[in-house]
């Protein structure tokens, strides 16, 4: 398995997109911190970039990489190599390179300008989001044979979690505003990794007062050690379930 990961890395290093992604993150983070005199304001702006850009790049890069590796996969499957291990190696290779890019690109500036608990939370959330969306992209790619459809599906996933979902939640909030919805909001949050990451970081920033009554509930729940563990656990589920489903689909796929 390690051998396969090695070849996935070699391939990723060759096309330099991950390198460009690292540089992009580095420039954006450094600029944001440079513009704000208060580092926690810088973190706040960075948060919004991370929540949008990291899922998008993870989804698109993974999908394109998967379709471009089709020949590689086909070649290896005629060899004595386990299918599920092959896909897991692909996942490990892609995920580890994107995580490295994120840790260098965002982690470097954060450690330099704003070291502390909030920065650590931002990095943890970014890494978790990368893993979640790489896993979802693998699932989308193994389910579709056509490259254009695969990328379309990946974009749809991004629109859904990044934009549509919040709209849906707002609609629910307005429609049922006569009822106590705090518990329901807690559940709805866990159904979207992006929201989960946002709240997880915001609570570290002490801006939850801005979030009203629900915010207080979040503070009570996620602010505790148990709440943080819960958030991490849910992220874990968001990583494991899609990749498990992707392996299952891939093992039954015709090449």
């Amino acid at each position: 398995m390690i051998k396969v990961i090695k070849y996935v890395w070699l391939d990723i290093l060759q096309n330099r997109i991950v390198l460009a992604y690292t540089v992009f993150l580095l420039v954006v983070s450094a600029t944001l911190f440079g513009m704000e005199t208060n580092p926690s304001k810088g973190l706040m702006s960075l948060l919004n970039i991370v929540l949008m850009v990291v899922p998008l790049i993870s989804l698109i890069f993974t999908t394109i990489h998967f379709y471009n590796s089709y020949e590689f996969i086909e070649l290896l499957l005629a060899q004595p190599i386990n299918r599920s291990k092959l896909l897991l190696s692909e996942f490990a290779g892609v995920a580890s390179s994107l995580v490295t890019a994120f840790l260098v690109g965002v982690g470097g500036p954060v450690l330099y300008y704003a070291p502390g608990a909030t920065g650590a939370a931002l990095l943890a959330a970014g890494v978790a989001l990368t893993l979640v969306f790489v896993a979802l992209a693998f699932l989308a790619s193994v389910c579709t044979r056509d490259k254009a459809k695969g990328i379309g599906l990946a974009l749809l996933i991004w629109f859904y979690f990044g934009l549509l979902y919040d709209g849906l939640v707002l609609t629910i909030l307005f429609t049922f505003s006569d009822y106590p919805l705090e518990k329901a909001m807690l559940v709805l949050t866990t159904l979207n990794p992006v929201d989960l990451a946002r709240i997880f970081i915001m609570l570290q920033m002490d801006v939850s007062a801005l979030m009203g009554f629900t915010g207080a509930l979040y503070q009570e729940f996620f602010g505790s050690a148990l709440g943080s563990l819960y958030a991490l656990g849910v992220m874990g589920v968001w990583i494991v379930v899609p990749i498990w489903a992707a392996v299952r689909v891939f093992c039954k796929k015709d090449l």
Partner: protein
Amino acid sequence: MITVTNLQKSYGRLKVLDNLSVQLNAGQAVSLIGPNGSGKTTFIKSILGMVMPDGGEISFLGEPIHNGWQYRQQIGYMPQIGRYPDTMKIRQVFAMIKDLRQSTLGKNALLQLDEDLIEAFELPKLYDKTMRSLSGGTRQKVSACLAFLFNPNVLIMDEPTAGLDPLAAELLKAKILREKAKGKLILITSHVMSDLDELTTAVMYLQDGQLQFFTEVDQLKADTGEEKLGRAIAAIMTKERKSERVKERLTH
């Protein structure tokens, strides 16, 4: 060596393999013949575990291959269209496959390499070319070399001579004959009957995903009274067409 029982596969509504059963033994050299779209490549890919059958079973040396992968140590496969990572050089492709194979073996076992064909095709001269820049024929040569490289007991070749120049085709055929003499199982699909006539000793004829017959080449020639495999097959195909027409007329 390979036992296939009641193999079934459909793509949507199209039945590609329909209750196919066959037994292939070591020492046999089998031609897999059939019209276009009769399920030859699907059959081969099922044996390799690249296509997942809807029903039936394939066993390799008595073991069902279901989701297994170890058995592929013993199969050399030459695909109809070899597809390789574009940016890799020929040298890198060979090195990678050797490296991965070695890692499946464990530390003490050494790979038994058979680089005859690489020498014969003079591939070392082209080692630094990327796969993207290769012509179709050279790609075929790389595929052929990979199929033989690990000295497998079973060779499965999908249209091996298509796209090769006459010299390369002869070299490849000579190599196949040498391996056949060692008592390996060889399964070849081709539309070039003269090649199959030289190389194989049995014929497996597929039509619409069904096995029409599996006979020794000599037997087939005797039955049809033809001296060449191509003519013998043609005779059978025309006979079938006629009987189909008769059937159609009877049903109308």
